[in-house]
């Protein structure tokens, strides 16, 4: 069953929470439901961001007639349902079945399955890109120079290449520019190493 996966809470408590959330969901105005779902799906892959701002949450409380706690429960449960669907890359039909088993009303089930069908591919793609290593290579820039002279040597004519690798730290958002210089030999050596890596990647596909 989809929702009985390992979770740091007792299963019993989890099921009771879900049951309560389902009851609240069943009472919701179905017209505003899709917008809610699409926002949740949009933000699901982001680690730190809130799905709704405090202001928006207050508006939602009024719109659906929920207390602050009830709204939190509903949002968390919907997020949890979609997270699990993403984790297992669940088929929409299977998701629908599971939701019906939780005694969710058909109209709500239909909306959730629809939102999932539309948003699943995008979300799974974003989740695939999420990495554990914070530093990501974002951009490669380069410049080819011909050194003409230096203080101790005139008439040099020495080609050299400057590379700038922009690496972003995912967790802090900071960007670092790694600047390297290569002579022809040094660049050729680097190129050979990259070729070796490519061969490895080819064998992994």
């Amino acid at each position: 069953m989809l929702f009985k996966e390992v979770w740091p809470v007792s299963v019993d408590l989890l099921l009771r929470s879900i049951k309560k959330a389902v009851m609240l969901i069943n009472d919701m105005d179905v017209n505003r439901f899709p917008l809610l779902l699409s926002r949740i799906l949009q933000k699901l892959h982001l680690k730190e961001e809130r799905t709704f701002s405090e202001e928006e949450e207050e508006k939602l409380q009024t719109a659906f007639g929920f207390s602050s706690n009830d709204l939190d429960l509903v949002l968390e449960t919907l997020e949890f349902i979609l997270q699990q669907a993403a984790y297992h890359t669940a088929k929409p039909a299977v998701l629908g079945e599971q939701l019906k088993q939780l005694e969710m009303n058909d109209d709500k089930v239909e909306k959730i399955v629809e939102a999932w069908t539309n948003g699943a591919r995008n979300l799974v793609q974003k989740l695939k890109e999420r990495t554990v290593h914070p530093n990501q290579l974002e951009e490669v820039k380069w410049r080819l120079n011909l050194q003409m002279a230096q203080a101790s040597q005139s008439k040099v004519k020495r080609p050299n290449a400057l590379f700038q690798l922009s690496v972003r730290d995912d967790s802090s958002g900071k960007k670092e520019n790694i600047r390297l210089e290569f002579t022809h030999e040094e660049l050729y050596e680097f190129y050979n190493q990259l070729e070796t890596i490519q061969k490895q990647l080819d064998s992994l596909s």
Partner: protein, 221 residues
Amino acid sequence: MSIVQVKGGGGGAVGLERTSFVGARVPPEIRAMIKPLSKLDKTAFKKILKVIASEIQGIEQSFQDLQPLLGGALTEDVLATVYCGLDDLVRRALKLPSSSLKKENFLQDLQDLQIPEGFHEDLVAMVVGPKRPLIDSHLEDRRPRLPSLENLSWRADVAISTGVLNRVLVRGVTMEMTLSDGSIKDFEMTVSKFQELRFHVASVLSEMEKLEKHSILKIKD
């Protein structure tokens, strides 16, 4: 800019349109050294030249290496003048690529500067001799530059599963670069970003090769 030099006497070649390797005007350091140099004995000269050669190749020398030479006519002042003049002369000669400064021209210039004939051999050995490539390579190494890539450690792997996604199956490349300034940079990249990097490196290499074949590099000066 070229200067017509008319050589007098001494059966030398008439050097038209060629500037001495020291430049259009004889630098003051060299000019000041000529007189004391003529009075210098050969062993002292050889020793001073050896110290200069070591300094240029990055081996630090101290005054103690030259101190034993002092005595009699060779005072500290005279030693300083000769050392500075010779150092300047040698550096100017080494500044020109060996293809530019031909041995005959170098000798002619030394003669014009009134460097004693007995010293020519040692100077020529340094500037066009077998040790010259070593000196050149050292001068090249000491040029100002951005850090080079000293070592590249890398890993290609497939992410099977993560906390948020059971089946990921995405390939990635992780790199750890050790630079010549001692810093260590580690980062990851997607396969497509890796291909981009590989493409850029290949492009630059091909541009470099084109550049090296270009006629501007073939001009002999």
